[in-house]
Amino acid sequence: MPTRQLRARGLAAAALATATLTLGTVLSGCASTPTAPSDRNPSLAAVGDGTLAAGRYDLVVHGMSCPKCISNVDLQLKRIDGVVDPKVDMKHGIVAITVRDGAAPSRAAVAAAITDAGFTLAEIREVPR
């Protein structure tokens, strides 16, 4: 195949790849209208602002469909200062966490962690002591 033709095909291929990712970016942007932070993150929109006091909470999480999801959730939640001992109940879609004394992690941080893990945080329920 002539070099010129190969070069043209290479350019066409690169253009297609760029267009694919650009289209993907546009489509993903359209899926969540970029206004306030809570609008960009459905999890955050569901759980509101503020912080979590020391105690136990149940996070209602959607989309955890496989055992590996547990590791993803664990990894992200353990990065939040003050959140310890996450336990995942996949059947009911509940992640139980404990906020240790003296810590006050924000609801936004918890929501972001669940979203980063690849799932949707639908609700935060405080567990009565």
Partner: protein, 268 residues
């Protein structure tokens, strides 16, 4: 001897995988930010006339951002072929493949069910050694949709690769025509165990069935039926699979008899 068959087979074998994913095709799942997932897959292909190809692919996937991940695949190959490039157990590195994946849809329906879609693009780089590499940078792009509904998982993926030089993905058996090619894959996974997830951390067993196809612009094609078994635990996954040709229209390569797969994935 048709080199395209082997090339197509290797193409099918080198596509990415992750959580509750098929063994031989992409999935619209990705590691979360800062998480790396290495995977090793060993494959053996038997062709007509007792010709063999052994391939071990090391894959590393890394979450760059919430919906963006990058993956690198590097195959190590050993060939026992008569022609057109005779090999007698020679080893060589294959072409490095870089893949950038962007998730464009994530719709979590309830505790378990989810629908996701991604687009991806990348290139195969001519990094092969010992005659196992191609001579060109071959860009590719594609899309994949994954749905998990209860015990059932569904995947559909399409990818198109531009061959800018000589040789397809599989570098030993270079095609002179340098045809571009498309991969179209369909997959179904059924969770055998547990029937329902509980509070305890248990591994899950899945039976998988895929239809892996490759089509060149030169008119050749290969269609493989690929049953498999997947054990997925929170920190690792084991894969066992078989690939059986159900349709091959190949001009310059030996027909594939079957392929075997043994794979391991880890999560850090």
């Amino acid at each position: 001897m048709n080199q395209t068959a082997i090339a197509c087979t290797a193409l099918l074998a080198a596509t990415p995988a992750l959580a509750q994913e098929m063994l031989n095709m992409p999935a619209a799942t990705a590691p979360s930010p800062g998480v790396a997932i290495p995977r090793v897959q060993a494959r053996a292909f038997l062709f007509e006339d007792s010709q063999w190809l052994l391939e071990q692919t090391l894959r590393l996937e890394y979450g760059i951002a919430r919906d963006l991940s990058i993956a690198a695949d590097l195959p190590l190959q050993q060939g026992f072929f008569d022609a057109p490039r005779p090999t007698d157990g020679d080893f060589g590195l294959g072409d490095l493949e870089l893949n950038l994946e962007l998730r464009i849809l994530r719709e979590d329906l309830n505790a378990i069910d989810t629908v996701r879609a991604s687009v991806f693009a990348g290139a195969e780089l001519p990094t092969g050694t010992g005659g196992f590499g191609g001579d060109s940078v071959d860009p590719f792009a594609g899309a994949v949709v994954t749905a998990i509904l209860g015990r059932h998982g569904f995947d559909a993926a399409a990818r198109f690769t531009f061959v800018t030089g000589h040789g397809m993905h599989h570098p030993i058996f270079v095609t002179d025509t340098a045809d571009d090619y498309a991969n179209i894959d369909l997959g179904y996974a059924y969770r055998l165990y547990p029937e329902e997830f509980g509070e305890e951390r248990v591994g899950a067993w899945y039976a998988t069935l895929e239809l892996n196809t490759a089509w060149t612009t030169g008119g050749e094609h290969e269609v493989l039926l690929s049953p498999g078994l997947l054990l997925e635990a929170p920190t690792y996954a084991l894969e066992l699979g078989l690939q059986l040709p159900i349709s091959q229209d190949l001009v310059h390569a030996p027909d594939l008899r079957f392929g075997l797969l043994l794979g391991l994935r880890l999560i850090f």
